[in-house]
Symmetry: none
Subunit: 214 residues, 4 copies
């Protein structure tokens, strides 16, 4: 399975330093703060992060941080919010009529896996959302949306004869998503061993034959 690297939120803008208008300066600083904080939150969690260290590592001070995020919670909400939005955006990418629905399901796992491997916002947002209850964000919890999306796709697959008739979409979706989060956890715990993508390969090698119609 081939997955292109999602190049969204990480250009770091090393291109044109001379053109820095003063009004764009702040936006960049805010961006740097969010990214650095996300990396810190990703390993450390809410309580494990010292905001002063984060900001000092960017050659800024608490004052600058306070200007953009008066509160640690505000910063966290920004990160979680972006994570949710990014996830939703990946899920909502429309599929062409012809695509095999089962393949789309598989493809989604790789796209999400890519996010988790390369986007600090995603890793941080995921962890933060698990630690605290930020459900008041009024946004759909990513893992739930993902499961629902997968369930819908599998139903279509069945209708279109792309999946065996005796398979239950909802249960399969649950297994897929559960596996993903376990594999993600394992790949973080043992970075030296097989990474997330490899684990996904094993999983689908095992599972796909049982799903496709003979």
């Amino acid at each position: 399975v081939i997955v292109e690297r999602s190049q969204g939120p990480r250009q770091e803008t090393e291109a044109a330093p001379p053109v820095t208008t003063r009004e764009a300066r702040g936006a960049r600083t805010k961006e740097r703060i969010v990214v650095a904080a996300a990396e810190a939150f990703a390993d450390g969690g809410y309580n494990g992060v010292n905001l002063n260290e984060v900001v000092l590592s960017l050659d800024l001070t608490k004052g600058a941080l306070y200007y953009f995020f008066p509160t640690k919670d505000k910063l966290v909400r920004e990160i979680v919010g972006r994570h949710f939005a990014l996830f939703a955006q990946v899920l909502d990418r429309p599929a062409s009529k012809d695509d095999n629905r089962l393949d789309i399901v598989v493809h989604l796992t790789y796209r999400v896996g890519d996010l988790y491997q390369h986007d600090p916002i995603t890793r941080a947002g995921d962890r933060l959302a698990k630690e605290r209850h930020f459900t008041d964000l009024e946004l759909p919890v990513p893992s739930v949306s993902w499961m629902e999306k997968t369930t819908r796709l599998l139903r279509q697959a069945k209708t279109r004869g792309e999946m065996r008739d005796d398979r239950v979409p909802k249960e399969i979706a649950s297994v897929v998503v559960s596996f993903f989060y376990g594999a993600q956890t394992m790949s973080v715990l043992f970075p030296d061993r097989r990474n997330l993508i490899t684990r996904l390969d094993s999983f689908w090698d095992l599972l796909l034959p049982t799903l496709r119609p003979r």
Copy 2:
């Protein structure tokens, strides 16, 4: 699949108060502290737990805690250590020669699942071990031992003709363990939905047919 409840670490000893020797008193207090702390650590993590609150909830004070565990880390190590030991004990339970190796693998997941669902030490130890690096415990990481054990069992299964020949034990073991941890996470995040056992059922329903020889 039927699994008996593992009745190990939760007697709470409400039986015989008159026979309590002076030295047994302390041991009980220590036990109460460990359990209460574990429950707190299970949801809250290392930094999220206030040791004072823990002992106060037991009608004790810091003094009692300090007597048994001079340091927060000592307490955590005790919990993590027990978690590791308990896990090892579950894994090491010998299998009779006749048992189907594949069934043992399946059975193990339910036994471990039972631990995670009912033993606070297990939940706390798992979380604490993930948060901090207690590799200096010189103990085998449970998930790794589990995977190795599963791999060995699957190899035997293949030799005994209890598993299809074209399956790779190591990869399957990885998928199984990864799925387990993901399912465990999901069942904690969404306690209202399907619980861990149900998720295991779905998983094996899907996977077992592909593994057993025709």
Copy 3:
């Protein structure tokens, strides 16, 4: 007792927007800042006021404030200074030769009461002057000037036979001013009950008969 509303510092200048010269613009901004700050200081005191909030409520930012008042103290001094000046102006309004001096004393309390009830600068200045030691303003403390003025008026009243001979002007002045500040405090604490003017009425009803010659 009838008192005309002292119309000093609250025109709000909504009259002629077209004629606003560029230089008048700044003056208006400065004025708005002073008034808004005064209202904030009146309830909140020196430390209880967040200057950023003040300017933000005027759709301005710290920069605008900084332009006029580089320091919180400068702003406070402006307010206190205005309070002192306004108070002095009320006290210094000349009395016609014929007016009954006792009546002037009474009248003064109502005029000052009017200030405290309707002018934020007065309330803020009073509180700020009490909280901090701005004796370096080299201005006469309002309450002291008021007492002295009252004492002088009462001496004249005695000479002119408008007050009983056995009354001591200084002591009466002290009682009058003390009562006023107490009544002012009470009317702020319990706004639902009798207001300052009503309290003054009660006071003079009680006191005047003892002061006037039979």
Copy 4:
């Protein structure tokens, strides 16, 4: 008018240092904290007080303070609560049947005045209660209870023929209490001048003749 010094809350226990049981030690420390904090709050108000300085002046640290008062608010509530209780206690001291009710009213002002002059809890509690809304203490606001008590006494005085018939108890009570708080304020602002007791003397000299029956 002669008023005995109310010797309630200020022994400071300089008597027997050797007998200090360990359990009494803490109570004394807590007491020292409350008194020192009260003195600081009395001049400085809520925001003007640095708890660290307070505690350092007692050769203690933040840790000790936190043990007794985890929060600045808790400390303030303790002080305000004591103020309210002390005040109520002074008001509730029963009067013998024979005492002239008007004299009791007068006497009360001196007793309260004594509190304000010598008890830091009273001064601090008064100021803190004015600055913040601690009405959730469910205790009667001292000044209100005082006014009500005075009103009741004056009604009795009228019934017993100890006050002129054409005086309105409620209005007089209002004037008395208002004057008191004004005089208290003035005596704090200008400590070099006439103190609170002297001001009360002037007040009653002026007022009593108009109240007593001829």
